[in-house]
Amino acid sequence: MSEIKLKTSILESVGTKKDIDHEDVPFNKLTLNVVHPVSKQEIYMEYSKSDSKDVLIEKEDGVYVEEAGVEYLKQSWKATEYSFFLENSTLRHAAEGDLGDGVKNFAVPKSTNTYDEVYVNKKLVRTDYNIGLHQAKPLIEEIEKVFGKDQEWKGNRFNIIGTYTAHDDAPLRPPYTHEKTYSWYNVYNYPSQELLDEFKVPDVGYEYHVWHSIKYNTVTGKKQLKLVIADNEYTSNYQKHPDTFIPRPEVPLYSAKYRSFFFAKIFNEDGTEADQYDVFFVTTKDIMKEFCKEKGLDFPMPETREDDFVWIYGLVYDKNTLEIKQVKGYVRYPTEEGEWL
């Protein structure tokens, strides 16, 4: 690994500076000049004494850092700043009736006049509409032709319904088999025990997020349940919790922001679990592009959309081999088309 000898100049992209701590002990600090991923403004940073000690290499002839270590710090900062930008853009306090039973401390979108586009290999593969938009109505009708009124579709005004589009170079994500599969998302509600029992989901103590989805395959007449699982000690520490550990492929640097990294599993009605897991994370376009290039994967966003409001990326991967099957990018758009609720 290559090391960089640091100059003592605050103008350097990476530099060092002398300081004196509260006990009057001199030490060297790491300094960085970085460009904010959203505002594009230049920001000068100095690391704390302890953080600097972790990365600086003190030698007789000067102060050095590992080039890769500094690059990690810069990229990690950018991913987290990007997630702050996303967070501060769209939400408001929840009002009475916005959140389901037992859900608290969550905010809700300022508007329900939004839809999401999901891209894979630069192709639009799915569109998710807020349940109140007029585009949602025919999708519900398609489901009801086969499954009847299976759910309170509009039980929460933030619910979502989605439809798929397959392409030769961006086929349906496994395990889905037909385009005429519709995803209904129950938002701001924990999955009920009744629902978990219906899909025979084993109780292993996962911390579920406050939304889940039922996939309606109107060709086969089968349903699947997608559960969203927080990443925590139980899912990430194999040595301590082998029964709940969720294997994961290598992922790009992502935001250190709380709850911005999570998984999803899909269950069939007989309780079997799909071989494909999802992992989701917030990161920047540049980090994602570099990751895809390194791994030989297709960057999901078309050039015309890559600077839009990409609020999360996802990887579909095989739980046994960890092979990445798809790279997904989710973009949110406002619409002025109005609600039908």
Partner: protein, 213 residues
């Protein structure tokens, strides 16, 4: 007015900075004079040790509290803020509507380059267990050294400058310099619960900046 940074310095200048009256009797071993250079009684001291020294600066904060709802796509959280935040729009920091809290003094000629304090607050995601304590000032060029401050005591808790990460942007709409300390503490769900280092919302907390220790 801090003592000179170089050149001639008199015992009287030290005494005045320490809070004494000009021309009154004093000695280099007086406790108030020793304090501005962080010297113990009888300790060896040189005149140079008294360059760029200043008496502590204390102010009183009426602690404010509010929350902001945030989202990562479908994932949403509520962030709680406690302390003081100006209502002015600030780059790099989300601010609850209208700001929070107040202080009886927002600037001092011997501290923080006489810049106005925009933020002195702790914040973190509710249901999370980590927080950031942030000092943000309206100045984008100040140097990160003891002339700005060496430590700040908030409601009895000491934060050393060199334990903080430091960032500044001189090209922002409202230029800023930020010191941030990482804290490990549960984030309360209510304004009536204490949120370290501050007390409950509405409490009166003392803030003391120091240059000598």
């Amino acid at each position: 007015m801090a003592t000179p940074s170089s050149g001639t310095i008199s015992l009287n200048e030290m005494h005045v900075e320490a809070g004494g009256s000009s021309g009154t009797t004093c000695s280099i071993n007086d406790s108030d004079i020793r304090l501005i250079a962080n010297k113990s009684s009888g300790a060896t001291a040189s005149w140079n040790d008294y360059y760029s020294r200043a008496a502590d600066w204390s102010s009183t904060m009426t602690v404010g509290d509010n929350t902001i709802s945030e989202s990562n796509g479908y994932v949403t959280v509520v962030t709680r803020y406690r302390g003081y935040m100006t209502s002015t729009a600030i780059n790099a920091t989300a601010v609850p509507s209208g700001g929070i809290g107040s202080m009886n003094d927002y600037q001092d000629s011997d501290y923080l380059a006489n810049a106005v304090i925009d933020v002195l607050a702790v914040y973190g995601d509710q249901s999370g267990s980590s927080s950031l304590f942030r000092l943000q000032i309206f100045n984008g060029t100040i140097s990160n050294n003891d002339t700005a401050f060496k430590s700040v005591i908030v409601n009895g808790t000491t934060f050393n400058r060199t334990d903080a990460s430091f960032g500044q942007n001189n090209g922002a709409d409202r230029v800023y310099t930020i010191w941030s300390w990482n804290l490990s503490a549960a984030v309360p769900d209510a304004s009536s619960d204490a949120y370290a280092p501050f007390g409950v919302s509405g409490a009166s907390n003392t803030i003391t900046f120091r240059r000598s220790r």
